[in-house]
């Protein structure tokens, strides 16, 4: 009873106490968050540092020649990264070419053309696709895409586009083109989800303005929506490209894993990521291990380059888009 009676009058007291106490959680919070934040930074540096340190041996033997070496021969202990850089950029590039129209088309469909009751379910389904583990895509690629490429796509391309010289060599089903198709399917949801969000962010007024000027659906989309959503679409595309560059499991399962520069779209190849997955554990010695880790460093560099390029691109687009909007 006694303690309860003094408490009502001394209400400012507890409040000042709680203010004093409330500093401590903030300080702890600050310290914890700082540690976590700096820890992640340290981890990033440690990863680069360890990769660089482990690839010293390879750098000592091959020097800068490693970066333009076209031969990867564990038996002769000659290692160059070019076959895998070509494989990585080729598969990701083709995947992007296939995925971008699909993703953009479905994003536009969901935001503008689909009946309202379809938009939610289809959007959710696409987001779910983005969450499917890559090994599932690899599995699906191995059992569905590989045979289909071999029996149907391969003869078709050979017959009609054989003159380009891009479609030669034995029909394994495994290869650069198959890996590109699987990658394309994997990155469609990523690009689509981001594009859809940025298309949804286009102000209704802007669409109405276009419609009121007599624009058709296509014209509204092209003139009022796509320019406004450009930065988001580019961002999503780069996100998808990033995923394609680093994708390991699905690519390893369908690319054929051959340490050569691909000579045609049907020929098997190897990306940097699949090389690491395939050969790091079964390397023939310290030099190969070191060379594989140097490849990892190159992949890190490529990813970093793509990200920086993307930032610059988005920055330029938002600048020009901003100018258009105002």
């Amino acid at each position: 009873m006694d303690p309860s009676t003094p408490s009502p009058p001394s209400s400012p007291g507890p409040s000042s106490d709680s203010r004093k106490v409330s500093r401590w959680p903030d300080r702890i919070f600050f310290v914890v968050v700082t540690i976590v934040g700096l820890g992640i930074l340290a981890m990033a540096f440690a990863i680069v540092g360890i990769l660089a340190n482990s690839s010293r041996e390879s750098f000592r033997v091959f020097g800068w020649g490693f970066l333009y070496g076209t031969i990867w021969d564990p038996n002769k202990q000659i290692f160059g990264v070019i076959p895998f850089v070509v494989g990585t950029l080729l598969t990701s590039g083709i995947a992007l070419l296939i995925a971008l129209p699909l993703a953009l088309g479905s994003a536009i469909f969901i935001t503008t053309q689909a009946p309202r009751y379809l938009r939610g379910p289809v959007g959710t389904a696409i987001e779910l696709l983005a969450a499917v583990p890559s090994v599932i895509y690899g599995f699906w690629g191995l059992f569905v895409i590989v045979p289909y490429m071999r029996t149907t796509v391969d003869p078709f391309l050979r017959t009609w586009f054989g003159f380009t010289g891009l479609f030669t060599g034995p029909a394994y089903g495994f290869g650069v083109l198959t890996a590109s198709v699987v990658l394309a399917v994997m990155i469609v949801p990523t690009i689509c989800a981001v594009s859809r969000d940025s298309l949804l962010a286009v102000p209704v007024a802007q669409q109405e303005a276009a419609v009121s000027l007599g624009a058709t659906n296509w014209e509204t989309t092209r003139t009022a929506m796509l320019p406004y959503a450009r930065s988001g679409i580019v961002g999503g595309t780069i996100l998808g490209l990033g995923r394609a560059l680093g994708e390991t499991m699905a690519v390893t399962m369908v690319i054929g894993n051959v340490d050569r520069i691909p000579t045609s779209l049907f020929s098997p190849g190897q990306t940097i990521a699949s090389l690491i997955a395939n050969e790091l554990l079964s390397s023939t010695g310290p030099l190969q291990t070191s060379a594989i880790l140097e490849c990892g460093l190159v992949l890190l560099g490529i990813s970093l380059g793509v990200n920086v390029a993307a930032r610059l691109l988005v920055w330029r687009i938002t600048k020009s888009a901003g100018a258009i909007v105002t």
């Binding site: 959680p25 564990p74 034995p170 050569r260 079964s282 023939t284």
Partner: protein
């Protein structure tokens, strides 16, 4: 205009703006403060919990909390005398050859006694050699004997042959189930000199067979593989061009045509799904794979074309009967290729388990129990375990190999004394 109007003219415009600032400020700060206070507690607490969980997880992974198991009485092999020793708990980890995986898998299930578990990862012979060199497994398995460089990198490593197998060429040609090959033709197919199935050299080995005019699609193994080593050793022996240009290697020579597949299983499935493909696998994989796979007969030194099986790989071992090194010496030049018998299969090879001779100095975490378990498992594998081999198309080890193996096993040490060989844990032979 509009902004300056609202700022200066008080009476008309206030109604919409004034009520909100006037009424809302009192409750708003409290709400914000309360939210802030709650947030500032929750986030650090969650962060701390996450950090603790991560640390504990890392600790478990690193074995900080591992209780030290008490070892049984030293150097007693009561099982042999009383037959009633309890199996010591433990897990035996192995990694390596996919060629011998079916047999080791069988051994795992047959040997398993409820407390000693063997876990085998068929990541390939090169992986097996790396893993045992790094001492992350209890035994490695390789179809290729170690080079002097590899032996130097893992001092004290013993090579214990545990089975013998045959490597067979497999192919996928619609309607053709029986083809003859010889070493020279195989070498020319795999190095790209023979590119079409109706090549005259191939046709002359197969009179009466209508070979299609189709490009050959070679399939080889990804990364370092003991099966590749056995196969390239054979090509090196039979074809001088191959010998001088490519030689015998764990990794497939670079620059040759074809695609690659991972593991014996991957190789068999790739060949069986790729029309006009050719590859090479252990007998067991060829037999258990799909029906579309043809198994090639290979010409032996007497001129006969042999389809590999247990009998003709076993007779190849017995007929060659080379002088064997001891377990601690190099086995690199031990070869069972091209045995002289009329019915012997020419691409036959031993496959090896790799273990350390001095277990207490190789593994700091080892107890006498662990050492006994490992030696016990291998002893069981080369004795009772051999009776499983023919069922899985491996040749059982002949006596002259077993003699060397027994000497090798009895040379294994723990804490300066030999590890007793008990065979207490193993299950029985197949019925």
């Amino acid at each position: 205009m509009s902004s300056s109007g609202t700022g200066t003219s008080a009476p008309p415009s206030p109604p919409p703006t004034e009520p909100t600032p006037g009424s809302s400020p009192p409750p708003a700060p409290e709400g914000i403060q309360r939210q802030k206070r709650r947030g500032s507690w929750v986030i650090p607490v969650v962060a701390v919990i996450v950090i603790i969980v991560v640390i504990v997880a890392v600790g478990f992974a690193a074995g900080w909390f591992k209780s030290s198991t008490s070892s049984s009485s030293k150097y007693s092999c009561t099982a042999v005398t009383s037959g009633a020793t309890l199996p010591s708990p433990g897990t035996i980890k192995g990694e390596g050859s996919s060629l011998v995986e079916p047999l080791i898998d069988q051994w795992e299930t047959s040997y398993w006694t409820g407390s000693v578990v063997t876990a085998y990862n068929p990541a390939g012979s090169s992986s097996g050699i790396s893993a045992i060199t790094l001492k992350v497994v209890d035994f490695g398995a390789s179809d290729a004997p170690l080079t002097n460089t590899q032996l130097a990198a893992a001092p004290g490593l013993l090579e214990v042959p545990e089975a013998a197998g045959g490597v067979v060429p497999i192919y996928n040609l619609a309607g053709i189930t029986h083809l003859h090959f010889n070493g020279s033709v195989l070498a020319q197919i795999f190095d790209g000199q023979i590119t079409n199935w109706n090549n005259t050299a191939l046709q002359s080995l197969n009179p009466g067979v209508t070979l299609p005019s189709a490009s050959i699609a070679p399939v080889y193994r990804t990364g370092g593989s003991g099966t590749t080593f056995i196969f390239t050793s054979f090509l090196t022996l039979k074809n001088s061009y191959w010998a001088s240009h490519y030689g015998r290697n764990l990794s497939w020579p670079s620059g040759l045509p074809g695609t690659s597949a991972s593991g014996n299983g991957g190789e068999a499935s790739t060949v069986s799904t790729t029309p006009d493909a050719i590859g090479y696998v252990d007998i067991e994989y060829a037999l258990t794979s799909s029906a579309s796979l043809g198994i090639g007969a290979v010409q032996n030194p007497t001129g006969n074309f042999i389809v590999a099986n247990v009998t003709n790989t076993e007779s190849a071992l017995v007929d060659l009967h080379p002088t064997l090194p001891s377990g601690s010496e190099s086995w690199y030049n031990v070869s069972f290729l091209d045995a002289p018998g009329a019915g012997d299969y020419p691409i036959t090879s031993l496959t090896y388990l790799l273990v350390y001779q001095d277990l207490s100095s190789a593994y700091s975490s080892y107890t006498l129990n662990s050492a006994e378990n490992l030696v016990d498992f291998i002893q069981w594998a080369i004795t009772t375990g051999q009776s499983w081999s023919p069922k899985l198309s491996y040749a059982p080890l002949p006596g002259f190999v077993l003699t060397v193996d027994n000497a090798t096993l009895s040379s294994m040490m723990f804490d300066g004394s030999p590890v007793p060989i008990c065979v207490v844990n193993g299950g029985g032979a197949p019925t």
